[in-house]
Symmetry: C2
Subunit: 341 residues, 2 copies
Amino acid sequence: MNGELSSLLVRDIGEQGLLKILQRFCPPEIIGDDAAVVSTESGQSLVVTTDVLVDGVHFSEITTSGEDAGWRAAAANLSDLAAMGATPLGITVGLGLPGEVAVSWVEQLYQGMTQCLQRYNNTPIVGGDIVRSPTTTIAICAFGQVNPLRTIRRTRAKVGDAIVVTGVHGASSAGLQLLLHPELGQNLSDSDRTALIHAHQRPQPRLDVLPILWEILDSHILLPVAGMDSSDGLADAVVQICRASGVGAVIERTQIPLPTQFNHWLTQEQALEYALYGGEDFELVLCLPTELAYAFVRQLGEGAAIVGKMIDRATVILRDQTEEYPDQILNLDRGFQHFSH
Amino acid sequence: MNGELSSLLVRDIGEQGLLKILQRFCPPEIIGDDAAVVSTESGQSLVVTTDVLVDGVHFSEITTSGEDAGWRAAAANLSDLAAMGATPLGITVGLGLPGEVAVSWVEQLYQGMTQCLQRYNNTPIVGGDIVRSPTTTIAICAFGQVNPLRTIRRTRAKVGDAIVVTGVHGASSAGLQLLLHPELGQNLSDSDRTALIHAHQRPQPRLDVLPILWEILDSHILLPVAGMDSSDGLADAVVQICRASGVGAVIERTQIPLPTQFNHWLTQEQALEYALYGGEDFELVLCLPTELAYAFVRQLGEGAAIVGKMIDRATVILRDQTEEYPDQILNLDRGFQHFSH
């Protein structure tokens, strides 16, 4: 970024000045009409999701770099598409900005978003709106396409299904705690600390697992897949799927994949707390017949695991197969009763 | 709305409580997944647009009723779709809300949005996000579909095209002035005052003109249509189309259709000021070969008019065919150099 720009504030250059800078991040053919035109493949359904992120609630303009805020905003929306089985087509970005925001922060925000978008299907930013606001606000709408027979929904879990997670849980929220409280984790190596913080700042939407899933399901074209992402925590994801599908679940404590960095730092209880309730890991939680689940987890490799199964009861039970801990009923309220996202 | 609810604040019921109320405004099948699935017709292109509206900038939570704010937010986005020639498929709604906002205001916001959406193609709200924010913020993303041969773009105007407006200009901004300064327009009748205020509070996106346009263009399937909406003023629309198409324009002062209510109230100069620079009329400004333009205006009826033509020069000239006023070069800067929408 150029040195002269770095001291400029949004109010110095106004909407038109800012647009000129940010248009560099958009495909030229979409600029300058009332709306963007996007091609979809025939036979595919459109999938749409939206997220609003607010300074001081979901990120802090002071402590979060523009790049990290941008990456995370894009990743959260791409993860919602992945959770539906959809391939991204594009996003729109609505920005509310106070005049005192540094132009360089906004430019970095777009750099972070495009870094993430380019990595995943080269997804374009196809439109946006920039307005004055007392509060920095990022409103993203992401849209993608899915083969209607391959749409992943929360409602489709069946008793007996294995519950697959596509990766480790707890790293993102542990990374956030390390950022907020640098005095924590004194016995962590520098590289372990960095890895956990990176998991928080640069979460990876799991669009990469979809082709693997379709390959596993190749000869089961009509098999409905249940699932969602674990953006609000693994516990929340399992409870949401159970509620939507009218089933229950047993989760095996010892099967939940944890970040290796936790070994040198946290007790088993603390680690489980992060993994179940931490959120923002953006892994997928999928319900599949056991045999297919095993094949899927083998293909996914490290981090992926079968963590439990769907049962014919109205509760979600956390079980310890080593019998050290008694059965515990998972409490949804810990997972997502916050007035935010 | 129920009396008990009317005294509740958002913080009293939280995100989950608010979601339960607002889900009544969404089709039940879209609730509860990470994203919404929408069917598109094959052979159609997807059109996407987004708008962010901020309390104190684009509306005032104190002086704007929730219903009016909702109607206008939906109308502005549907107008962007109309300006592309697209039929709406759905919208997503992202809301940032302070805890002190009345639940009834949010409910009315959704009522206003759905009133507008139902009137135009029964467009559904297919998704959303509700988050805590210090500033009430409404982020709408609207998407629709268009026959790729029928996409209306700003870049397609040709020298000689007639400039059609689909209705009168200036009513919305005059209505806003009457709301802000009730002492204005003492010589307006009550019904005239009400009509102008209504034009501001309940603007009509011109989706209704598209079938008429397609009928007129029926035997001209490959004719590219240039145009946009006049949300930022008639002057801005003409200048934007000229810039995008690399042409100029002559606008005839006396041909600009004005609200009849202006006759008893404003001088010709004041009326023209509102019509050219007022904005938010949400009419379409379209460029067509003269013969088709005449046929189109005849079909549209009252309010529609040919206001000028495209010329082979780099300026936009305001001309008086009665020669009372000298030629005037339209100044874009008056139209839209505000840091807002």
